[in-house]
Structures are given as structure tokens and as C-alpha cells.
């Protein structure tokens, strides 16, 4: 893994059209700005992993008997 030291307002560039700017550093938190074309998806890493994990769990689900009675439709 490439590790770079940066200061506030510095940036790193990835490829031809993605730039990550260090916006603010406060204690153990860093605020990053991401400049990328709209077709590039940007997520917090842990959210991506959580949704993957939940999709796997959901794919194991079986239909509860009388599910519709659980939920009163409006």
C-alpha cells in the first residue's frame, strides 16, 4: 500500500480524474474532499462492506409464514 504524508489543503490525485483533498484535520478525524466524475462511485469503506455482508445474509432468508399478516398494509 502506498502511504503519503499530506497537510491540510494538500491533495492526492488518482488516475486522470480523481482528486482527494485534505479539507480539515481535527484530533483523530480527517475530513476529505473527493473530486471525481459522477460515474465514479465513492463510499465510506465500512458502509460498502456492511451492505455486502447484509446482502449475503438476506440471500439466505426464507419467507416467514403469513408475512402479510405481520404487516398491516396501509
Amino acid at each position: 500500500m502506498l502511504v503519503l504524508a499530506r497537510r491540510v489543503n494538500d491533495s492526492i490525485v488518482i488516475g486522470d480524474n480523481v482528486e482527494i483533498v485534505i479539507v480539515e484535520i481535527k484530533g483523530d478525524q480527517v475530513k476529505l474532499g473527493v473530486k471525481a466524475p459522477k460515474e465514479v462511485k465513492v463510499f465510506r469503506g465500512e458502509i460498502h462492506a456492511e451492505i455486502q455482508k447484509e446482502n449475503r445474509a438476506a440471500s439466505e432468508s426464507h419467507l416467514p409464514p403469513d408475512l402479510d399478516n405481520f404487516i398491516r398494509k396501509k
Partner: protein
Amino acid sequence: MQFETRALGKIEIEASKQIFFPEGLFAFEAFRHFALLPTKSGSTFHWLQSLEEARLAFLMTLIPEITTKYNPNINAQHLTIIEAQEPKQVEIWGIITVPAGKPEHMTINLQGPVLINRAKKLGSQFVSDDPNHLVRTPLLDLVDHTSGGAPAAGQG
């Protein structure tokens, strides 16, 4: 055309019920062709059934059918994937996880809803940036109990 399904056996699935996911679903990116099938006639609950792998299916519901309080901020990028111009053209579905043997603890994924553009038969899993939209939201807590019942009595 006939397809093998996980929950409904081998059934005829017309082209109108088939949905293409250009990017697949998270953790299942290889599977792109799905069908949206009611679990039974008239039910709000549907199977998102893979047409490439019979064992792969997700239980889903249209989120607006169970709550009016969910409005994710759907960005233009995501609309582009499913060839929609505005959020109004898009159905918002939630994937349900049912823990084995404990259906009362089932949850719905509000952080990663599935967006479907019916007109184009395209779908995509979206990531909501609202911190209140949880991956595991208890489904029974979410339901608006507004159907014909008396208003909640005894506030506070």
C-alpha cells in the same frame, strides 16, 4: 420463458417481469438478470429472483408501501445507471433479512435500497448517505400502523 426459482419452483416468467442490474448487487456483482415476483398474489412482498442462479433470491418490499417516512437523497449519478431522469420514475425497494427461526426479528436494509425503473426494466442498489438509514432496520418497528386503526391514545 421458464425459469427455475428458489421459492416458487419452475415457473413462466415473462419478459415484462425481468429486470437487468447493470452493476449487479453488492457482493453478487456477477448476477445481472433478475425477475421481480410476488411471493403470493396481492402480497406487497416480492422475490428478487436471479435468472442466472436459481438458488439466489432476495425478499423485498416496496418501502413506500410500509412507511411514508423514508426519503433517501437519490443522486443524479444513480438515476443515470437506471436511465431515469428524476426520482419520481423510480421504485424504491428494501431487501429484507429474516433470521432463521425468528421472523419477528426481520430487518430491512434502508441504507442500501434497490432502485427499479420499471419503464426501462433496469435496477441498481443505491447507498443512502443519510446516517439514519440503517442496514438493519427492524421491519416491524418501521411499519406505519395507520391502517384504519384508532389514533394512538394516551400520549406521554
